[in-house]
């Protein structure tokens, strides 16, 4: 194969008529000396790695008939001297890096038959002058950045057979009477532009065989007169905004092989005339708003290979005679309102490779005849109401790769589905399958997903699961599985999802889970009978995002290694027998939005470091433990927290003021602790049971026995001092007065009776004792609120017997 640059000396071969160096490995630029080849008729340099511009000197090759420079890396603009090549028949500049506009001068090359400009970076409008090219048969300018209106008119381009301007930015409507009566336009591809309006202008193009207007913004309905396009073989109108029904005249397009109308706003039912389309191979109606039943007549379209009605509102049953479609390879009816049983005749569509009936309301059981679908590699029936045992005949389906029967009511054993050893996806979630997990399943060594959750499977997890080295997802949750986790599972090193929750699995959580399954992003072992400690190796699983060990019999501490799981979003260790402290290092799990450690035997304080978990949002649940100490003041940093549950612990002290910063909080439970003092006003909108079982006062609980102490905070220092001085003075006066009165009474009593002196002594002792008692009980009642606020107590305790007594004692001393 030739490589290197084109030698400029080639320009000396001035008699050269043909220069063909295509499909080589030439690089460098096109030498300007080629302009000396005045006799040149054919210049074919396509499929090389030529770069640089098309040299101006080529303008001298005025006899040229064919220029093929496609599939290179040419840059610059299309030279306008091409307009002077009066003998040029073929110009192919496709798949280069050409930019700028298409020169209007090309319109002068009346001899031009083929013009290929696709796959460049051309911009601007399509020059109207191109309409002068009456010999032009093929125009392909697709995959550029052309804009403006559809300037090309086959009305003028009477020889035009292929017009391809897909994947540009053309705007505006398709001109009325786009084609002339004698138009020879066979293929019109305008897909992937920004065309608007209706398609009615094309009805004049009666010679059209392929029409692709997909991926535009066309509106209006499919015209009844569509049957004027009697030659039509391929019709693609998908990804537009077409409305209305499919006209029954579609049945007159008897040459039609491809009808692609998906992703529009089509309504109404499929016309029964569709049954006349004996050549129809592909029928794509998905993602419309069509309704009605699927007409039995469709089963007359015996050439059908692919049928896709996904995402409509088709109702009724699947046609009984669907088995007539012997060529059917794909049947996709997902997301409709189909009901009734699956017709047994479907089993006679023995070319069928993909069968998708999911998201309907189908009932009944799978017909025995399904055993004939030996080509089937995909069957998805999820979200129906299919029931009953699976027919044994399914064991004959040796090509199955993807099985999804999830969310139905199937029962019995899953064994009939294990005939294939090519399985990759096996999803039977949420049925009533029973029996053990069949060992035959593990013949399919390429299985990547096994999902058997929400069934009634029994027995152990087979150790053969370890043969599945491709396994990514294993979901056996909510069954009745017993035994321990098989050691062989440690071979499934690619596992990202391991869900074994809701079974009766027992034994220790093996440390290899965390040593070998380091790709795990989700691990759910909750609601089993696992016991023992949480292995320290847990820190290796640093990809874990969700970890749930909820509702087991786990003991020992929360391993500090858990704090290495810095990607964790959800950590649920609720309802175990974990003891020891909440590790303060948990602050490293910065992405936690849900943290549940409730219903354990955790002790010690709530670490103030929890306040670093600023993404906590769903819940922070530490309830039903033995946590003690105060609620850390820093908890107020959890600005996004919506639920906080600290109930049923031994927490003491007052509610920290910072809690009022938890503005996102809408559920709060602090009940049944030893909390004291006044509830901050900002929390008063929570109900009583948020606070009950403590010594808390203030709204919504009962009023605090003192006048609200918090008012004191607003007094200035001078006022406080003034009040203290006043209290001291008044107390002193009162004391002096009392002493005086008592002294008088005392002397009176002495005068009256001498025998009561013993009583008086004990009396005065009792006073002091009482005073202490009252004082103590008062402190217990008000708690740290009053001590914390300090001097305010003296300010507002004028009526309080404790202070008076204390003053009195002080004064007495």
């Amino acid at each position: 194969m030739l490589y290197g640059e084109i030698p400029p000396t080639l320009g000396n071969c001035t008699s050269l008529e043909t220069l063909g160096l295509a499909y080589c490995r030439l690089n460098g630029t096109i030498p300007p000396q080629l302009g000396n080849l005045r006799q040149l008729k054919l210049l074919t340099l396509q499929n090389n790695s030529l770069s640089g511009p098309i040299p101006d000197q080529l303008a001298q090759c005025t006899r040229i008939q064919v220029i093929s420079l496609n599939d290179n890396m040419l840059e610059g603009e299309i030279p306008s001297f091409i307009g002077e090549f009066s003998a040029l028949k073929t110009l192919n500049l496709a798949n280069n890096y050409l930019k700028g506009e298409i020169p209007a001068d090309i319109g002068n090359v009346r001899s031009l038959n083929h013009l290929y400009l696709f796959g460049n970076r051309l911009t601007g409008n399509i020059p109207y002058e191109l309409n002068q090219l009456s010999q032009l048969q093929i125009l392909d300018a697709s995959s550029n950045n052309l804009s403006g209106p559809m300037n090309i008119s086959p009305d003028h381009l009477i020889s035009l057979e292929f017009l391809v301007i897909s994947s540009n930015f053309l705007q505006g409507e398709i001109p009325k009477d786009f084609c002339s009566r004698n138009s020879s336009l066979h293929n019109l591809f305008l897909a992937g532009n920004q065309l608007t309006g209706t398609i009615n202008g094309l009805l004049s193009c009666t010679s059209l065989q392929s029409l692709d207007l997909s991926n535009n913004s066309l509106t209006g309905s499919i015209p009844h007169a569509i049957d004027q396009l009697t030659e039509l073989v391929n019709l693609a109108l998908h990804n537009n905004s077409l409305t209305g029904p499919i006209p029954h005249q579609i049945g007159n397009l008897t040459n039609l092989e491809i009808l692609s109308l998906y992703h529009n706003h089509l309504t109404d039912s499929i016309p029964v005339e569709i049954g006349k389309l004996k050549r129809l191979a592909l029928l794509f109606l998905y993602e419309n708003q069509m309704s009605g039943t699927i007409p039995e007549e469709l089963t007359n379209c015996t050439s059908l290979q692919e049928v896709d009605f996904f995402g409509n509102h088709f109702s009724g049953t699947i046609p009984d005679q669907i088995g007539n479609l012997k060529n059917l390879i794909v049947l996709q009816l997902r997301e409709n309102d189909l009901s009734g049983p699956i017709p047994p005749s479907l089993g006679y569509c023995n070319s069928l490779q993909q069968l998708a009936l999911a998201d309907n309301s189908l009932t009944g059981s799978l017909p025995d005849t399904f055993g004939f679908l030996t080509e089937l590699n995909l069957i998805t029936l999820y979200n129906n109401s299919l029931a009953g045992d699976l027919p044994r005949s399914l064991l004959g389906l040796k090509n199955l790769s993807i099985i999804n029967l999830s969310h139905n009511k199937f029962s019995g054993t899953v064994e009939p589905l294990t005939g294939s050893d090519l399985l990759t996806v096996f999803d039977l979630t949420n049925n009533s399958f029973s029996g053990q997990i069949p060992l035959e399943l593990f013949k399919s060594r390429n299985l990547s997903r096994i999902r058997l959750g929400h069934n009634q499977l029994t027995g152990p997890i087979p150790s053969q699961v370890g043969l599945l080295h491709q396994l990514v997802s294993l979901d056996l949750s909510d069954n009745d599985l017993t035994g321990e986790m098989p050691l062989s599972l440690s071979n499934c090193k690619g596992l990202t999802h391991l869900l074994l929750n809701g079974n009766r699995l027992s034994g220790y959580i093996p440390s290899w889970v965390f040593r070998d399954l380091v790709s795990l992003g989700e691990l759910d072992l909750s609601s089993n009978n696992f016991s023992g400690d949480i292995p320290k190796e847990i820190g290796n699983c640093s990809a874990l995002i969700k970890l749930s060990l909820y509702n087991n019999k786990l003991t020992g501490p929360i391993p500090v290694e858990i704090t290495k799981l810095t990607l964790l979003n959800v950590l649920n260790l609720q309802k175990n027998k974990l003891s020891g402290p909440v590790p303060p290092e948990i602050q490293q799990c910065k992405k936690l939005y849900e943290l549940r450690l409730s219903e354990n035997l955790l002790t010690g304080p709530i670490p103030s470091e929890l306040s670093s978990l600023t993404e906590l949002q769903v819940i922070l649940d530490l309830s039903y433990n033995d946590l003690s100490g105060q609620i850390p003041d820093t908890l107020g940093n959890l600005l996004k927290l919506e639920r906080l549950n600290l109930s049923f612990n031994q927490l003491q002290g007052a509610l920290p003021d910072s809690l009022v910063r938890l503005t996102s909080l809408h559920r709060l439970n602090l009940s049944s602790n030893l909390l004291q003092g006044e509830i901050p006003l900002a929390l008063s909108s929570f109900p009583q049971n948020s606070f009950s079982g403590n010594n808390l006062c203030g709204v919504p609980m009962g009023p605090c026995s003192d006048p609200p102490v918090s008012k004191g905070k607003h007094l200035s220092k001078a006022e406080v001092e003034g009040i203290i001085v006043a209290i001291v003075l008044v107390s002193a006066i009162v004391c002096v007065a009392l002493m005086y009165i008592m002294a008088r009474i005392w002397s009176n009593w002495r005068e009256v009776s001498v025998s009561t002196s013993d009583c008086e002594e004990s009396n005065s002792k009792r006073w002091v004792g009482n005073g202490d008692k009252i004082q103590a009980s008062k402190y217990r009642k008000l708690g740290p609120t009053s001590t914390r606020v300090g001097s305010s107590e003296e300010k507002h305790s004028w009526g309080s017997d404790t202070s008076v007594l204390r003053m009195k004692n002080d004064a007495a001393c």
Partner: protein, 215 residues
């Protein structure tokens, strides 16, 4: 030669036929994949987003309810660059849109107003620009709206005063202008929710200054 390039061009035009739609995924999965296609994800946090699955409920950072409908999207703090697209508005059941602390650029799509179940919109600490769309006033379930630390401009849409469930709002550290509404839930938001918007002029004075005063 000419016919060979004709074949090439025909092949490219008929490419649509090769795309078998038989595995068309559900609309929420498609919407999320369309969103993913806008994003640069150097940390591969979206690696598990495999559209061949029947729904996106096993994808990481996506949470579904029991009926397999997407209710949470958690991509906060994930070193993602890109734009938000209209497809996010198709996540009909989404309650939590957590895209904070990334490098999302461009505008907040007005289609986010279609998320009628949205409880929390956390777009804070990104590079979002343009105006806060009026359509967000359709988010009747919204309780938390944190758009702080972006480059948002324009005035605060008055329509937002109708969001009666809104409890927390943070528009601080943007480039908003005009005055701050005082009606509806806005009567409860502290000044800090609006601070560091140089051209925002304090609470609106009814009849004295128009809402876009200074814009």
């Amino acid at each position: 030669m000419a016919s060979s390039s004709l074949l090439i061009s025909l092949a490219s035009c008929l490419l649509f036929l090769a795309l078998s739609p038989a595995l068309a995924s559900n609309s929420e999965g498609e919407a999320l994949c369309a969103f993913k296609s806008r994003l640069s994800d150097p940390n591969n946090v979206l690696q598990s987003w495999d559209q061949s699955l029947v729904n996106p409920c096993t994808w990481f950072h996506v949470t579904c309810d029991s009926q397999n409908r997407v209710i949470r999207l958690d991509l906060g703090n994930s070193n993602i660059t890109g734009t938000l697209g209209p497809e996010l508005g198709r996540l009909q059941h989404l309650q939590y849109l957590e895209l904070y602390r990334n490098s999302f650029m461009g505008k907040i799509p007005e289609e986010l107003g279609n998320l009628k179940n949205l409880v929390s919109m956390d777009l804070y600490e990104n590079q979002l620009e343009g105006e806060i769309p009026k359509s967000l006033s359709k988010l009747k379930s919204l309780r938390f709206m944190r758009l702080n630390n972006n480059k948002l401009t324009g005035s605060i849409p008055r329509e937002l005063v109708t969001l009666s469930n809104l409890k927390v709002l943070d528009f601080s550290n943007n480039d908003l202008c005009g005055t701050i509404p005082v009606d509806g839930p806005f009567s409860t938001f502290p000044p800090e929710s609006f601070e560091n918007n140089k051209r925002l002029n304090g609470p609106e004075l009814l009849g004295l200054a128009s809402y876009d005063f200074g814009c």
